[in-house]
Structures are given as structure tokens and as C-alpha cells.
């Protein structure tokens, strides 16, 4: 299971602790969301998280610090999940070096098309970072080939057209999209967008190699942000969502 959280929400100093809680709850991969002022691909839940993180003073440098903290405790893979502009501003060469040094494993840029990806991908890969691209239900086969070509690590399959957020059902287009991608690439496929219930995990888990959930976690962080019990609550929620058996408490 791939778990997303917006780094810096509710506070920059909390991020590493929350990542570790999600790992204890059963997350296998973490997407560290870099907060951005204008998150055009996100629904209200992640928009609000982004606002809270920015108000709390989170920056890209702060996200890398959080990654470094996580790395001291665990080897769980960390993906930097960001809009382009904070990375453009930081500079890809510098980012590639600093992210690799901080223990980041890969980078996904929501608003980077493969057409514009040549230079960022070359620089990130040169530092050993994976580059993950989104495949969408609207993507043509020509585009899917390019996406597979530019991706390493895995391909992130968007389950439906639209923005991030919890939904009652998983998009119907995801099955055919996964099937097409299987013919084009041997990379693992992670499916996300709208996944928020244990049933979704089972349904998507049958066809995908990994399932991504984001807004559902961010909502828990929003609801319990001010409480000391947040890491425990998040850990329990993670466990319920991915259906990991409860570890007996001694």
C-alpha cells in the first residue's frame, strides 16, 4: 500500500512521526506531498492540507529534512510528490543531489507532462532517483508508451478523470487502463485517486501491484491534527484501510 500525506500538516516537525505511524499501520511506500499554493489537481481535502502546511511554514527544504528524519529510523521507500513550481524554483540539479542525500527514492510531478520532462528526468535519474509519471483514463496509447518510457520504479495509474478526493466507488476505466499498460511495460502499477475504503483496496488490489490512498489519510490528519493521539489514530486508520491484521498488544 502506498500512503500519501501532505508534508508539514499539521506542522513541519510532525511529518516524520506520522510517516512512521503509517508504516506501523501497514503502509509499504510513502508519498510525501510538497505543499503548493495552487494545487490544481487536488480536491478540497488536500487543498486545505496544503494551506495548513504552508501556514505552518513548510518548504521543500523542510520536506527534505523530514525525509532525512524518517531515514534515520526506517528504509520505507519515500516518493516526493509535488507540483512543478517549487521544484523549478529550487532547481533540479540541486534537488537531485539534496533529495538523494535525504533518502528520497523517487519523484512524481503532478503537472509535468512527458513532453516537458526531458531535463528534469535526466537530472533526477543521474542522482539515482526514480521518476514516476501518471497514466490517466484519457491517455492515448501513444501517450501511455511515453509514460512507460519516462517512468522508473512504478507507474501511477489515475483511476478516474478528476481531482484527488474520496469516492464511493472506484472508476470503471481503471481495469482496461491497467490491462493496456501491462502490454506496454513491465513496471509495477500503482492505482490511486478516490481510493478510501477497505473494499477499494481489495477491488483494486486484484489488478494492481499497489494501491494509493491520499485524501482519506489527510482527512484523518485534519480531524485529529491538534491531538496528541494523532500518530496512534493514523496508525489504526492505516491498518483498517489496508486490512492488515491487528498486531496483538502485549
Amino acid at each position: 500500500m502506498v500512503a500519501y500525506l501532505t508534508a508539514g500538516d499539521p506542522a513541519p516537525g510532525k511529518t516524520a512521526e506520522l510517516v512512521l505511524a503509517m508504516e506501523r499501520g501497514g503502509a509499504d511506500f510513502i508519498e510525501l506531498g510538497v505543499p503548493f499554493s495552487d494545487p490544481i489537481a487536488d480536491g478540497p481535502v488536500i487543498q486545505r492540507a496544503s494551506d495548513r502546511a504552508l501556514r505552518a511554514g513548510m518548504t521543500l527544504r523542510g520536506v527534505l529534512d523530514a525525509a532525512r528524519q524518517v531515514r534515520q529510523a526506517t528504509q520505507i521507500p519515500l516518493i516526493l510528490f509535488s507540483y512543478m513550481n517549487p521544484l523549478v524554483r529550487y532547481g533540479f540539479e540541486r534537488l537531485a543531489a539534496d533529495a538523494a542525500q535525504a533518502g528520497i527514492d523517487g519523484v512524481l510531478m503532478t503537472d509535468l507532462s512527458v513532453e516537458e520532462a526531458g531535463e528534469p528526468v535526466a537530472k533526477l535519474r543521474a542522482s539515482g532517483l526514480d521518476t514516476i509519471f501518471l497514466a490517466a483514463p484519457t491517455s492515448t496509447e501513444r501517450r501511455l508508451r511515453l509514460i512507460a518510457e519516462y517512468s522508473s520504479g512504478f507507474v501511477y495509474v489515475v483511476s478516474r478523470t478528476g481531482i484527488t478526493g474520496e469516492k464511493d466507488t472506484v472508476g470503471a476505466s481503471v481495469g482496461p487502463l491497467v490491462a493496456t499498460l501491462r502490454k506496454l511495460t513491465a513496471l509495477p502499477l500503482a492505482v490511486g485517486f478516490g481510493i478510501s475504503k477497505p473494499e477499494h483496496f481489495q477491488e483494486v488490489g486484484r489488478i494492481a501491484d499497489a494501491v494509493v490512498a491520499g485524501s482519506a489519510f489527510v482527512r484523518v490528519i485534519e480531524e485529529h491534527g491538534g491531538e496528541a493521539s494523532l500518530p496512534g489514530v493514523l496508525e489504526d486508520f492505516t491498518r483498517r484501510l489496508c486490512g492488515t491484521p491487528q498486531v496483538a498488544k502485549l
Binding site: S37, A136, S139, V158
Partner: protein
């Protein structure tokens, strides 16, 4: 210089600027839009229907008017106004809307969405949607809804749904984000009618092409009336559609200065203006790479302008290219200077300009006295009816307090 007008390249780049920076879900729809547009552009039936609507519905060609009293009072350059304010709906925005609505119909889309800042593009979109019987939703920041109440009502009267946007600064940028979220969700049925020379390719190219009639007409008209090309062309620049519309015809004329007026706002401190070339650096926002007002961490800065239509953090990508090439100059025009110019134009020529257009007038007014024997062409992109409330707030001496309920 002729190579400049051959831009953008196949990927939508003007030099390094422009391109396509959007979520993957929108990439194939943008390719489809580009293909449909390139076909329509070559189709005589499309072009002839558009020309007919521009002439008989919108009111093209617009007059080129020599502002003799204004020029005489300033004692320098002869100032000519390109009267886009006389178009149906009161601004140049209708040129682009008519082109894009024909394209939407050609693509079989049933639903139109748009963003609006000052409300002029929203009104023009609501107008063409009504004309073609298509469903229409317009996203507008709540701050802009407050500033431009009259246009909100006009859109509703035309049958459009106005959707208030409460995120961010609650202005144009936030309205565009929300329109993009709608588009990404309803992309199969919905046409996004973007109103400025912004966003991902093909929008900056397409909007420029639909607006270039302004400069094409003005170039012929000024040759007829003045017997020669102008020395300088002035236009205000928010996203930059009216400016690119009047500049394009003159780009190959190396002797013609092209001057864009950005919103200088209250001051040139970050957050108090929208002058991208005065305080910005290249970045990515809402689909394009261009000069952007941002902080050291790459977060987009809040902006301010007395004029809602200029209140935006990114400049259209072709302007960034013209700027870097030295082909166009861009000046920051403070709020106060634009307000004063509006009053000057009203009192010398009997024309109340839109606040946006007042920024262009202000530059010409400032430069005219020292420009004897020169010819200035100013794009009067919109009329000021929508701004009367703001003029009223800013000229309290004209509005005794007992008669003003806002005070």
C-alpha cells in the same frame, strides 16, 4: 523579427516559455483541442462564419479614433485609440469567445466553462453560450464578485451559473484553478473557454490568433488616417490577450515600440502589485512556464491591482518571450496613475475606460508630452461601465457621502 510571429513551436513554446504543464488527464484533451483548432483554422467555412459573427454580432471592425483633445492638452504625440470598448459586451474578450464557441460546437461539446477576473470574459462567455444555446458555468473569485457585482448579475441574466471561488486570494488565479478542476473532472463533455493568452498549449496561440484582428485592423486604419505606422503601441497586460492581440500585427515592424502596462498596484513590494517583470521570475503556473510572481520557495505570491482583470501572478508566455527578446517593453503602472488617466480620458474625450485599459491610457498620457511629432496607438480594450463602483470609491469628492451607501 518575422520568426517571432511563427511561434509557438509544435510543443507550444515561445522560446523557453509556454509548453504544457498540466495533469496527465488533460494532456490528451489538449491534443484533441489543438488538432480541432488547427483544422478549423484552415477551414474556410469556419473562418467565414467567425468573420460574419465578428462583423454583424460583435461589431467589427472597431473604429480607430484620434483623441485630439487629449493629445492637444498633453502637447506632444498624436494619440489614437483602438475602440475595442465599443464591441458588444464592452470589451475585446468577445473576439476570442466567438472563435472558441465555434470550436466548442465543432467538437460537439455541450457544456462551456470559463474563469473570469473583472467579469468581462465571463460576460462574453455567457453571451456566446446563450447565442449557441449551450450550458455555461463561470468561475469567479469571491473578491472579484464583490468588486464586479454588476458583471455577476449580467452573467446570471444571460443564463450562466456563476460559481464563487473562496480559495486563495479569491481572485482570477483561484478561479482558473477551480475551472481547471472542473475541466479535469468533466473533460469528456466540457469545453474550457479560457479567456486570456495563458494556460497550456494551444490556448496562448489560439487566443492570440482570435485576438490578432485588433492589431490587423489598427495597422490598416493608422496607415489610412496618419499615413504611417505608429511610433509606439500601448496595451495593458494581465494575462495579455488584448496586448498580444494588438502587438502581433506590429511585431515585424521593427520601428514600432510595443509597450505593455502591468499593474503596479499600491507599491512594488511583493503582494501589492501584479508587475511580473518588475518582481517576478520564470516559473510554472496553471499550465504554462512564464514570468511569475513567487516567493523564494516557489509558492505563488498574492497580487493586487485596483483592476481585477490585471490582478494575476503569471504573464502570458508569449509576452515573456517578447520581453526577453527585447521586442516589447513592460512598465508597471500604479493604481493611482491608472485612476487619474481614466478621469483625464473621461473629461477630455467623453470616454470612460475600463480600469484595465486605463493602465494603457496612463502610459500614453505620461509619455506623450515628450513625444512631439510621434504617433501613439493605445488599445482601449474595454469600457468602464463595470468599474463605476470602483471609480466611485476612488473619487469620493465626486460623490457626496450622504448619497453614497457604501460609505
Amino acid at each position: 523579427m518575422s520568426t517571432i510571429s511563427a511561434l509557438p513551436d509544435a510543443g507550444g513554446h515561445f522560446g523557453p516559455y509556454g509548453g504544457r504543464y498540466v495533469p496527465e488527464t488533460l494532456m490528451a484533451p489538449l491534443e484533441e483541442l489543438e488538432k480541432a483548432y488547427l483544422e478549423a483554422r484552415q477551414d474556410p467555412a469556419f473562418q467565414s462564419e467567425l468573420a460574419g459573427l465578428l462583423r454583424h454580432y460583435a461589431g467589427r471592425p472597431t473604429p480607430l479614433y484620434e483623441a485630439k483633445r487629449l493629445s492637444g492638452n498633453l502637447g506632444g504625440a498624436r494619440i489614437f485609440l483602438k475602440r475595442e470598448d465599443l464591441l458588444h459586451t464592452g470589451a475585446h474578450k468577445i473576439n476570442n469567445c466567438l472563435g472558441q464557441i465555434l470550436l466548442a460546437r465543432r467538437m460537439g461539446k455541450q457544456r462551456i466553462i470559463a474563469e473570469t477576473g473583472a467579469g468581462q470574459h465571463g460576460v462574453a462567455t455567457a453571451t456566446v453560450a446563450a447565442l449557441f444555446g449551450l450550458e455555461c458555468a463561470v468561475y469567479m473569485g469571491e473578491e472579484d464578485m464583490r468588486r464586479q457585482r454588476l458583471n455577476v448579475f449580467r452573467m446570471r441574466l444571460l443564463g450562466a451559473r456563476v460559481v464563487g471561488v473562496a480559495s486563495g486570494n479569491r481572485t482570477l488565479k483561484d478561479a482558473i484553478s477551480e475551472a481547471m478542476r472542473d475541466w479535469v473532472t468533466n473533460v469528456a463533455t466540457t469545453y474550457y473557454l479560457l479567456g486570456s493568452a495563458l494556460g497550456a498549449h494551444p490556448y496562448p496561440m489560439m487566443v492570440r490568433d482570435f485576438q490578432r484582428c485588433i492589431g490587423d485592423e489598427a495597422r490598416v486604419q493608422i496607415l489610412e488616417q496618419a499615413g504611417r505606422l505608429p511610433d509606439a503601441v500601448f496595451a495593458c497586460v494581465g494575462g495579455g490577450s488584448n496586448a498580444i492581440g494588438i502587438f502581433t500585427a506590429f511585431i515585424p515592424d521593427a520601428g514600432v515600440r510595443l509597450i505593455g502596462g502591468e499593474a503596479g498596484g499600491r507599491s512594488l513590494r511583493l503582494g501589492e502589485h501584479a508587475a511580473r517583470f518588475a518582481g517576478g521570475s520564470p516559473g510554472v503556473l496553471q499550465g504554462a512556464y512564464s514570468y511569475l510572481l513567487q516567493d523564494a520557495d516557489g509558492q505563488v505570491s498574492p497580487t493586487h491591482s485596483v483592476s481585477a482583470g490585471l490582478d494575476y501572478a503569471l504573464i502570458g508566455p508569449e509576452h515573456s518571450w517578447l520581453h526577453d527578446q527585447g521586442r516589447a517593453e513592460y512598465l508597471a503602472v500604479p493604481d493611482q496613475q491608472a485612476l487619474t488617466a481614466a478621469q483625464t480620458l473621461a473629461r477630455t474625450e467623453g470616454i470612460i475606460p475600463a480600469l484595465e485599459s486605463a493602465h494603457a491610457v496612463a502610459m500614453a498620457v505620461e509619455q506623450a508630452p515628450a513625444a512631439k511629432n510621434q504617433i501613439f496607438l493605445v488599445n482601449l480594450s474595454g469600457r468602464g461601465d463595470k468599474d463605476v463602483d470602483i471609480y466611485r470609491e476612488n473619487f469620493p469628492e465626486l460623490d457626496p457621502s450622504d448619497a453614497n451607501p457604501n460609505r
